[in-house]
Symmetry: C2
Subunit: 494 residues, 2 copies
């Protein structure tokens, strides 16, 4: 890939690095590799097993073939409907640049990822997130969970604070907790982080400022909310103003959908028909808004291909990416060679447009599942008690219930919103439907900065549901049961 | 696997855990999974993509088949000589317990590894390392580099000290350095750590004692040395006496060989002929000596199968392994599903004895390479200047040269051993042969405890070579050139 030198360079932001990141040195042994492959030099330097000893001579994978006319769940019946990747130890010349040979992918080396995979991902990045500065790079890792954990090591010292959405992915909070990093919540509504609240928190902050904002901007987990282009721009400006980094954790980015409409006939007309339309319909990433180099983007194959690929990547300014190389050298080293050969081989056979075809069909699947789910919610839930915004991205939906409307809110529950949440949770499970209580995702700062006033009195609870894992007919049953549980709990007849 | 309840339990050693390890909590979301799969419960809890959307319906791999009569480098010519693994989304009933279906391996879950792979590795462990206590466990990870990094997080706090071999794997030192952990060297000779030196260091230690000893006991990197059974027993006793943990990093364990003999005719008679003989010929692991639960063993497929599998595992007492589960949940999650399905599928088809066949042939290959290399060293090197013990395991050899015998040691080099090392290094590279200077592997404690006397005056330097990566004919050329470089440097004619 050629660098677009017409773009400006990013700002120097390396002073944001942690003490640990600054301690990391390149291994002295790397110096040896500059000799490796020199003509007429016998290299007795590196402890690499000979690839002839790797016991896998060939891997053949079978996948559906673009443009996936029968949808992504369709299982091809014969080779004519398949993309077949035959990956060998030594790539034949007509597949060079397409396949990652097993003699290389199963060997040590290429910490940042195999070149054929990196090339594909960089081209993809350029198509979807046009960059505003020239010195960016990406590193392939084992997924966003690893990426986030490494990122905390790279930028946060023990005792630092980071900002997160008020409700967020519990595992991301736990990673910070283990590193003794304080997580501080930023207020959100049904459309994600409220920019003015973010600005207020930072403006009124006393003491060492938070290092970064961690956000899941699209199809947020657990609330299902998505930030609009306008909010993203505002939030980016606030981050620049207060000099904090933005980490966008975007596993659900390509699960963007049409807005929900109750009008069933209007739905089919709204679907995406071509690649250009698809890319244009995407909400702007923080990465693409970034002129300074303060955004780190975490991407993953987990939701677009499969979680067990354990393939993800981080995109950011090159001097930051270099610090991730140093971490990976002494931890995961790189993601599995099998994963890279198979994912790389399949994606390179599909091509950029074939991959977009896959994503377009994925969007169609999730849109349909979302539609059926939301139809069902409107049919079976007591909407008069609820705040509910149908999701426009991701796997999750959340509905907020006004606990104060429970007839026994003050008597039996003594005004405790969480007790009402628990009562609904248990009744729904008893009725045979399971969703996760929103309180399980709450960001609780270990130390509240002194300027924070007492939190408003909580009135609402929420549940996180998902239409991802369950077939449609079961979802409908599950929603109906959950709706009945709420109604019975609140004494609503219908 | 059934626990052998006739064995005693390990000691409670959890007070060795780090502050970070103690901070780690199980994700509250794990509580949800106890509901998953309950009859007639619609589970809308987990954000798992449907396996029908995973774009890989089948993977077929081709490997050599046991007993590998033509050696492990032989490429099978047709299916009759191959182990062919066809791994599908849903395993047919006759392959249950053998194959890890893609619908599961490519999904989230099974942080500790897929059950079919764990079962194989536990059976293998029981065969090779008969355990002395009952509450042991293992966790599959992405290899020993990750394992070591996680282990440091689990047991060491910033500022702690660990003991390592005087010369050791640079990347392991760098992992500790980044975490602000001091590494302190224990003196070794051509047969590895000197037990009395370890005891002396610990007995004379002032201040907070080192947490653990990190050792590569077999085919040590970089010295090629291997600890005898006797030294292992002594070292284990010393660890118990001073209450430190032992971490055995054992990627080269199965690259054990016959002792080198100059008598070419005697060589073939010494090779291993059956499984029982092979297992019996293995040096005792620290794990198998451990009665208390203070040994953590790091195993890897990197040298026995291929580095790019990124499959390794840690074996230790169960309460320690549980802390590794917590780390993996918020970092790598688990090793690649492709890797687990392919490695598990191949190993389970080979069976325990087929895998031993593979290891026996691997041993034969490395023994032959070692023999040719050592023959060549004795032929071309100025042995009168050297200390050299032919390795009995691993990929590496080291030869120690008495720098004081350099005619210009005091004049040109001002008595600086490292300057002589550099002169040899550069001359050898110029002659077309490359090995790595031993000084690059030196463990230098960031803080020397006050009781340490000044180090003895250094007289010897060494180089690390390897016969792993290079074909035999090239090795011979490389050794000859390196020998000439030393001789010319020292003004020796022959």
């Amino acid at each position: 890939m050629t660098v677009d030198s017409s773009l400006p360079l990013s700002k120097d932001l390396d002073y944001h690095l942690s003490a640990e990141a600054l301690r990391r040195k390149e291994s002295p042994l790397k110096g040896a590799f500059k000799y490796y492959g020199k003509p007429d030099l016998v290299f007795l330097g590196g402890g690499l097993p000979q690839p002839t000893y790797f016991p896998w001579n060939k891997i053949t994978t079978e996948s559906p073939a673009p443009p996936f006319e029968n949808g992504i769940g369709y299982k091809p019946q014969d080779a004519s409907e398949m993309t077949i990747s035959e990956i060998t130890k030594h790539t034949p010349s007509h597949l060079e640049g397409i396949d990652i040979p097993l003699s290389r992918s199963l060997q040590y080396g290429n910490t940042n990822g195999q070149p054929e995979l990196i090339k594909f991902l960089k081209e993809h990045t350029t198509m979807v997130h046009p960059m505003q500065y020239q010195d960016w790079d990406l590193i392939v890792n084992t997924g966003n969970t690893q990426g986030w954990n490494d990122l905390l090591r790279n930028f946060c010292d023990k005792g630092d604070t980071i900002l997160t959405e008020e409700y967020t992915f519990a595992s991301s909070l736990e990673a910070a907790n283990a590193q003794a990093i304080t997580t501080f919540p930023v207020k959100m509504d049904s459309f994600g982080i409220i920019p003015s609240q973010l600005d207020a928190v930072l403006t009124n902050w006393i003491g060492k400022k938070p290092k970064l904002l961690y956000t899941i901007p699209t199809g947020q987990n657990p609330t299902g909310s998505s930030l609009s282009n306008e909010r993203r721009q505002e939030i980016y400006k606030i981050a620049c103003k207060h000099d904090i980094l933005i980490v966008e954790d975007e596993p659900y980015y390509f699960l963007q959908m049409e807005e929900y409409t109750k009008d069933v006939n209007a739905r089919s007309g709204k679907s995406i028909h071509n690649h250009e339309e698809f890319v244009k319909a995407m909400v702007k990433s923080f990465l693409s808004l970034d002129t300074e180099g303060r955004v780190l983007r975490l991407d993953s194959c987990s939701k677009t291909l499969a979680p067990g690929t354990r393939v993800g990547w981080i995109t950011a300014k090159a001097s930051f990416i270099e610090r991730f190389t140093r971490i990976q050298e002494v931890s995961s080293q790189n993601c599995s060679g099998f994963s890279q050969s198979i994912v790389g081989g399949t994606l390179n056979r599909w091509g950029q447009t074939g991959y977009l075809d896959w994503l377009i069909k994925l969007r169609a699947e999730y849109t349909h599942k979302r539609d059926v789910t939301v139809d069902s919610i409107y049919k079976h839930f007591p909407t008069e008690l609820m705040e509910f915004v149908p999701p426009v991205a991701g796997m999750f939906f959340a509905f907020h219930i006004d606990a104060t409307k429970h007839p026994k809110f003050e008597s039996e529950f003594k005004g405790d919103v969480l007790a009402v949440e628990k009562a609904i949770y248990e009744r729904a499970a008893e009725y045979g439907s399971y969703m996760i209580p929103g309180s399980w995702f709450k960001t609780v700062g270990q130390t509240e900065p002194p300027q924070q006033v007492a939190p408003e009195k909580q009135t609402h609870l929420f549940f996180r549901g998902t239409y991802a894992a369950t077939p449609l007919d079961e979802i409908i049953v599950g929603i109906e049961r959950f709706g009945k549980a709420i109604k019975d709990e609140f004494g609503i007849k219908n």
